[in-house]
Amino acid sequence: MQLVLEKRAERSNTIALISPLIAIGLTIVTMVILFAILGKNPLLALHAYFIAPLTDSYSLQEIAVKATPLVMIAIGLSLCYLANAWNIGAEGQFLIGAVAGSWIAVKTQGTDAGVWALPAMLVLAAAAGALYALIPAICKVKFGASEILTSLMLVYVADLFLDYLVRGPWRDPHGFNFPTTAEFDPVATVPLLIEGGRLHLGSIIALLVVAGAAILLGRTIKGFEIRVVGAAPRAARFGGFNSNQLIILTFAVSGALAGLAGIIEVAGPVGHLQPGISPGYGFTAIIVAFLGRLNPLGILIAGLFLALTFIGGEQAQIAMKIPLDVTKVFQGILLFYVLACDSLILYRFKLVFPNRQVARGTH
């Protein structure tokens, strides 16, 4: 007797819907075992991870703050991926957006710039992110260079450029040589929404982005083009859709969103430009995009869920003295199960009874 994976004739829509749930279920079972081995009460640990952060306004706000950049970047990436354009460099576009927007904040420091400062920063950041993303897109379209490699390599360029600025020309003159700009003026910071918390305007912008993407993909010809080019390139060509033009477009949009997320993070929760403004948001967002099945609503949920594991992990560290590494193991296990369960959409388990049965039949 053998257990084999057999390709399904058609993708199973039922499994597509329940596979994330199976994955979460399996993760929880695994974590319960892990907590028990660590000598922690599994129920209390799960409570700290999943329930406690959802029970007060502060933690909910923090989840939204953490999810905001992830969701914004992931929405842009999903457009690229749907159109078969592989933008891996959102991290770089995020950083360039942060740098471009910060330019206004740094140059107007202490001049009482007026209310135009923040909108100008947002626009400039989005434009810079889009332009930066266009480099790999144009290299792909004109020269056939792999956009996966070029976009990834540009991350390091952006990182070092930011590093140079905050160590050199933009360094806070009163910052004792530490690599950071001075704190931005109030007119150059993203306003907070709720007194006492950190929820900021950026979260609203992220929601608008989700809604915009849902409308684009569900209700417009452009969205249809994006999906067809990705799913059936030949059909798209017959349909007269220009896939090169779509690569340029989706890269530009995803770069703009990543850049916007960058300046919102810098002018919001951070308050100044410094190295390390992104704990890998641009890369984590790739996971969010796929966890959310490249669907805007799915991405919103996936982003919030991933944020929940960060906040919950921190609270578990405080409340239960569970090491941070367990949170990382937990996130890893979750992704592992999600990918594993996804294979069930296209494949199914089948028990096969080879040789022996066959042998009996023929003799």
Binding site: Y58, F176, V270, G271, Q274, I277
Partner: protein, 358 residues
């Protein structure tokens, strides 16, 4: 079955809340760590101090730490999480937590904060640091004595005053032994990255350095020096097991007594915002045993340590000459004053390099 499971769950949750209630009478003390508790350097020393604190006052306090907290947008949240979990005294143990700590401190005036190595304070936020440059001075003497090539290798983290004053103290001391001593400096631009630190050590040795010193936190440089048969100084903690034939000494961060004193003050209700900057005399740091050196070098080191502890020897005794050949203004009478050292942003004469950003 399901009912009994639910009951079990409820029971467990209740049990949890009961134990939490009995712990509520204890003072809660929180710690934010930059690295993992097992970094064997900076964070490890804070963790050792926390353990010493628990040993001393464990019946009156409950401690919690968050490790691996990056000095970015997450820091503010991590600090606030500790506040919200009921911690009344919170130690944030890296320079980069300065602004996040200040933000949270302003938001929670009834919670007390202790920020390591920073310069911004608030009525409920103290700062504390150590005069490591005193230890660097002793290391400079040893290094100049032990180096055959006359070239020292120095791994810097960030060009902030704490690090720059360490480099200057080292060179000023080394010049008293060998006026032509050279130093090669590599900026790792990180506090903790064993890979980068090891690469820097390799590069320095390739440039002719035979004594390696570092202002980064991992034992990686010690291991490389050991592999290549060179000498090195540990950093933050005892690193002799990574180079039994390599380590000359190490500056040991000994935060324990300070933490205990501050927590006692909090328990007594006498805590107030202060700036503590302790040297060898106040035991804010200590020197590891002087090893792998002849007795005469050991004697020089011990004599210098005694003189500094007694206040008879100051590493920044005037005149301190800058790279431009001009003596630096002497604000402290016989030596540079604390403000000049805390804001040190120049190299002394004899360093053949340019301070980044100058």
């Amino acid at each position: 079955m399901r009912k009994s499971l639910l009951a079990l769950a409820a029971g467990l949750l209740l049990a949890g809340s009961v134990s939490a209630a009995s712990a509520a009478d204890k003072l809660k003390v929180g710690f934010i760590y930059l690295g993992p508790v097992g970094d064997l350097g900076w964070t490890y020393q804070h963790e050792l101090a926390r353990q010493a604190l628990v040993k001393e006052l464990g019946d009156k306090i409950e401690t919690t730490f968050l490790e691996n907290v990056p000095e970015g947008p997450d820091a503010e949240r991590s600090i606030e999480q500790l506040v919200r979990a009921g911690n009344k005294l919170i130690f944030t143990t890296s320079f980069g937590y300065m602004d996040p700590t200040l933000k949270v401190a302003k938001k929670y005036p009834n919670v007390h904060f202790e920020h390591a190595t920073g310069y911004k304070r608030n009525p409920n936020m103290s700062t504390y640091s150590a005069k490591w440059y005193q230890g660097r001075y002793i290391q400079g003497l040893i290094a100049a004595k032990m180096s055959k090539s006359g070239v020292l290798g120095y791994i810097g983290s960030f060009p902030i005053p704490e690090v720059v004053s360490g480099i200057n103290a080292t060179i000023l001391a080394a010049q008293t032994i060998n006026p032509n001593i050279k130093v090669k400096i590599i900026w790792a631009n990180t506090w903790f990255d064993p890979g980068k630190e090891a690469d820097a050590a390799k590069a320095l040795i390739d440039q002719g350095a035979d004594v390696i010193m570092q202002h980064t936190d991992s034992p990686a440089a010690m291991q490389i020096a050991s592999e290549r048969g060179k000498l090195a100084f540990g950093q933050d903690s005892e690193m002799i097991k990574f180079g039994p034939k390599t380590q000359l000494t190490s500056i040991l961060d000994t935060w324990g007594p300070y933490y205990i004193a501050r927590v006692k003050a909090e328990l007594d209700g006498t805590w107030k915002s202060e700036d503590s900057w302790g040297g060898l005399d106040s035991h804010m740091f200590a020197m590891a045993p002087y090893t792998n050196m002849p007795d005469d070098v050991k004697k020089i080191a011990e004599d210098a340590q005694a003189a500094i502890t007694a206040g008879k020897l100051h590493p920044f005794k005037c005149p301190v000459v800058g790279q431009d050949g001009k003596p630096v203004e002497c604000k402290g009478g016989a030596n540079l004053d604390d403000g000049q050292i805390l804001g040190m942003n120049f190299y002394v004469k004899g360093i053949d390099d340019k301070l980044p950003g100058k």
